[in-house]
Symmetry: C2
Subunit: 291 residues, 2 copies
């Protein structure tokens, strides 16, 4: 099977590595406007050749869009215009409503499967790609009723080859939930990093006094703007609501610190501690039935 990956970055490159190892892809074409990144991917054998998108489209059984979400939303209708009936297309963006809306009425909509793998790191580029990144992780297919059975089966099979567990959701629910568990944590981490850098004029104090707790909380602060600005833009509404709740809760917690109100702090922390069970669940990577 010939697979074209548009954007051979952390996610695109990691998909390519696993598709090759598993034998799912016989030939992998890389499309990337960053020439240096593409060359690196070619040199490392992540892709078999570099090609212009328009040339790659007719050669592909599957096309995977793996670029920032706003660019992906623009590119998808363009590709759908040109693909033959034998080609299936998917994307791996972290927002799903805008891209689904953009092609809802497209005559070839059924050849597209909207996908989001819950996997990644704070790094980027083909050099950051990892084998086994998707192993045991959750992958979400949105608006599955708008994809035809063949396309759905092929994309599901591909991501199951990467050992992902698949879930189905509508695109707005997807965007709402990931606003809380992924997009908001990124905002929180960016602002933590920014605040500490702003206050600690000398980074030496941070080097010396910060421990693994800070490193853990500020890690997402390293994530690239090129990926995250378009996500914040597209999921603005849900992230904003999530941040309203967060800021309200943060102010309440701060008031209890101001007042040295031990009972309220105790209660809040004990509520937060229930996250232990959830985080242990993420480790075991099982899928749970949503009520």
């Amino acid at each position: 099977m010939t697979i074209t990956i548009v954007g051979v970055g952390l996610i695109g490159g990691s998909i390519a590595k696993d598709l090759r190892v598993s034998g799912f892809a016989a030939h992998i074409i890389g499309v990337d406007k960053d020439k240096q990144n593409a060359s690196y991917a070619l040199k490392l054998g992540i892709i078999d050749e570099i090609m212009e998108l328009e040339k790659a489209i007719p050669l592909s059984d599957i096309i995977i869009i793996s670029i920032p979400v706003k660019a992906g939303t623009k590119l998808l209708p363009f590709i759908l215009d040109k693909i033959s009936t034998n080609t299936v297309i998917t994307d791996v963006g972290s927002t799903k409503k805008d891209i689904c809306d953009a092609v809802r009425m497209h005559r070839n909509r059924k050849q597209f499967v909207a996908f989001h793998p819950i996997a990644g790191t704070e790094n980027s580029g083909s050099k950051a790609s990892l084998e086994g990144l998707f192993d045991g992780k959750v992958g979400i297919i949105c608006e599955k009723e708008l994809s035809d059975a063949k396309a759905l089966k092929q994309i599901a099979k591909m991501f199951q080859t990467l050992k992902m567990n698949l879930l189905f959701m509508d695109s707005d629910s997807h965007d709402l939930h990931v606003a809380y568990v992924s997009h908001m944590p990124h905002v929180i981490s960016y602002v933590l990093a920014e605040t500490v850098l702003e206050v600690e004029k000398s980074t030496a104090s941070i080097f010396n006094l910060a421990g693994s707790g800070f490193a853990s909380t500020a890690r997402l602060g390293k994530s690239p703007a090129s990926m995250w600005v378009p996500i914040f833009e597209q999921n603005s509404k849900h992230i904003s609501k999530a941040l309203d709740v967060y800021i309200k809760n943060l102010k309440r917690f701060k008031t209890s610190i101001d007042k040295r109100d031990v009972a309220v702090m105790q209660k809040d922390i004990e509520s937060a501690n229930k996250i232990r069970e959830v985080l242990d669940g993420i480790k075991t990577r099982s899928i749970r039935k949503i009520n």
Copy 2:
């Protein structure tokens, strides 16, 4: 050398393990009001015997207070009242001003060395203790001019045996800086955990949709109230100011999301990204000169 550890939890137990392995301690006495935790530590050979504090004091060359900071602040003058001139005492609390203030005028102040190891995990109890937890980490000695040379030398040697890099600070500066790089990140993480649990009535959605990014940002949300409430209480002033700056920055970031102001988001994220260098510095664990 006989060492008494008051509070054989994550930190006290980890110190005991390394002091034994290194040969620094010939005999380790455990004092712990949690009988089950103490029995566990004894059974595992983390300590050699369990004893009441008053009996342990005259037998000890070094006493290490490793209990929640408010309890430690109360206990320290009581121990200083009773120790002979041959005994040195230290503590490992995450706040330093209150404990230093509590004994500033004590006749035996010079036998105390105020200490804070920048090391830990979100877990607690002797069962969570780890060998090598302090290896390469920073340890801070506060108000060193109030400790006598012999006490200082002995405590420095002990923590260097644990392979820590030592730094010296006044207690108020210590509390100010750790408010930003440790205490505030804990608040941020607690409130993230609480907010997500509050909104996602079914934890299944969190299990399914949260990835390693959420796990990283919410990890500190697992930390125990018994340790953190007293820290927030004692360092209320500095944490409150840090949270004011954080909330101001968070609101500004939220406004840029609301307005889909790509340029402002880009700028904020690029500022935050500078944390990469700092976090890589934490990994290499070198000490930097503070300007």
